[in-house]
């Protein structure tokens, strides 16, 4: 795949259809891969695409599409939803991006691989239902479902939204993704249990803001959380309020626009399951205002800037879901 992508990128660079390439390159280690822009064919020697390339590159296209010339972007299905949502919000200039859709069958989570006792990772390959992890001690085999990142295990769609060309085979929307199961499980708990669960998770937050910075829906030039007068722009040890405020508001701001790409949870250094907050909003929106998938349809109004005359009253919350 990687070789084919580089070859295609070189072709497009050579015939002048694009002047830059958005992709991934290795970081210090083979598994901390970061999004990168390649300015010419020579730089493409650093281009990588493997099962550690989970990073969503769509957010970078906001700035890239402001520059001169066209950029080639390789988008996984989840990236393409974010991309389409950003187009809808007029954050990306579509004319400036050439999109190649690439299939993704699930990316590996280095933490899960480590948890299996596999260390000294040098690289990763995919072979049927297994990942072959190359390490300094030799090759290790691990079943994909054991090493895949959480979000990939509950992937909503293998189908792209808006591409100029496809490399490899286009997938399908996955109606059986079970992505709301964990949310439903929490809903079934008592409020005290839920409170305990979330205190345990959120109190670990170090307010690094990585979840906000990586999120393709969080594209505000100046963010509420950067306001030094807000009392919530950093972590104060004295109180649990910051975390509550930050997480409620962050999730609320992206409600209806969050495509469930899973980046927020992926980048969290504290492994806080942030996607559960976003999915709660998605689930509520689906249940109360009709099925909606952000990014899927450019013409649909998104639920937070829409209403019907007979929407439910906020009081519905007292009646539905969860125990008293």
């Amino acid at each position: 795949m990687q070789e084919a992508m580089i070859a295609r990128a070189k072709e497009l660079l050579a015939d002048g259809s694009v002047s830059r390439v958005m992709g991934w390159k290795k970081g210090e280690f083979s598994y901390d891969i970061s999004p990168a822009v390649f300015e010419n064919a020579d730089q493409l020697v650093d281009f990588v695409y493997d099962d550690f390339c989970g990073a969503n590159v769509s957010k970078y296209l906001i700035n890239e599409s402001k520059k001169e010339g066209k950029i080639l972007a390789f988008l996984k299905p989840c990236d393409s939803y974010s991309f389409a949502q950003l187009l809808k919000e007029h954050r990306i200039d579509r004319e400036k991006v050439y999109v190649i859709g690439i299939p993704s069958y699930g990316k590996a989570d280095i933490n899960k691989i480590r948890a299996k006792g596999i260390d000294g990772v040098l690289g990763i390959k995919s072979e049927g239902t297994d990942f072959i992890v190359d390490t300094i001690y030799g090759e290790e085999k691990i079943a994909k479902f054991e090493a895949m990142s959480e979000r990939c295990l509950t992937c909503k769609s293998k189908k792209h939204v808006d591409v100029d060309e496809m490399m490899g085979e286009e997938g399908e929307w996955n109606a059986e993704s079970k992505r709301f199961d964990k949310v439903a499980e929490l809903e079934a708990m008592t409020p005290d249990e839920r409170f305990e669960f979330w205190r345990g998770e959120l109190s670990r937050c170090i307010r690094c803001n990585a979840c906000r910075n990586v999120c393709p829906a969080c594209t505000c030039v100046s963010c509420v959380f950067d306001n030094p007068n807000s009392d919530i722009n950093n972590k104060a040890a004295a109180s649990s309020f910051e975390e509550n405020m930050f997480h409620i508001i962050r999730a609320f701001h992206v409600a209806g626009r969050c495509t469930d790409c899973g980046e927020c949870s992926r980048v969290c250094p504290q492994n806080i399951p942030l996607h559960l907050l976003n999915r709660k909003f998605i689930k509520d929106i689906n249940e109360l205002y009709g099925q909606y998938q952000a990014g899927a349809n450019a013409d649909e109004k998104y639920p937070m800037v829409n209403f019907t005359f007979d929407d439910c009253e906020p009081g519905i919350v007292y009646k539905r879901g969860g125990n008293q």
């Binding site: 929490l186 809903e187 409020p191 005290d192 249990e193 839920r194 409170f195 305990e196 669960f197 979330w198 509420v224 009392d231 104060a236 004295a238 109180s239 309020f241 509550n244 405020m245 409620i248 508001i249 999730a251 609320f252 409600a255 907050l277 709660k280 909003f281 509520d284 929106i285 109360l288 205002y289 639920p303 937070m304 800037v305 829409n306 209403f307 019907t308 005359f309 929407d311 439910c312 009253e313 906020p314 009081g315 519905i316 919350v317 007292y318 879901g321 969860g322």
Partner: protein, 147 residues
């Protein structure tokens, strides 16, 4: 030694739309209808003005309950503001509940300028509900509490 039991009086913040509930509160005043003095009214230009952060901020600064009062759906001075507010508050309240924060601490009520009676009743009822729940501990900020 006898411990003196102080009666718990919750602090309630009521965000009231200028065009209806705020006038409704006025009317209940001129009609000498009683509602507890611990309801602090904050006037907003439309229910839609209520940023969810205001609610959280009110809790941070020591509110035990927050209520939003706006024009009845269909009667918003700006035509559609309260329809948006309705969606936002529904989702926000549901999220608070999801985090285990008592859902009875937040409420939305539509009160027109002519409904002084309803305003007083709503407030009495809300204060009673929050009094039963007791102090807000789940969304408090210790630094903002009086020692």
């Amino acid at each position: 030694m006898q411990v003196e039991e102080k009666e718990f009086k919750p602090t309630i913040v009521a965000f009231c739309c200028n065009w209806c509930s705020y006038a409704g509160a006025d009317l209940s005043g001129t009609n000498r209808l009683q509602y507890p003095a611990n309801v602090k009214i904050i006037r907003i230009p439309c229910s839609c003005r209520l940023n969810p952060m205001f609610i959280l901020r009110a809790f941070q600064r020591g509110a035990d309950g927050v209520i939003l009062c706006g024009c009845h759906p269909g009667d918003c001075h700006y035509t559609t503001g309260n329809y948006y507010a309705r969606r936002r508050m529904t989702l926000l309240f549901s999220m608070l509940d999801f985090l285990g924060i008592e859902k009875e601490r937040t409420r939305v009520e539509w009160v027109s300028a002519a409904e002084g009676q309803k305003f007083a009743e709503t407030m009495n009822d809300f204060v009673a509900t929050v009094t039963k729940l007791g102090e807000n501990h789940r969304l408090e900020d210790l630094r903002c509490k009086k020692q």
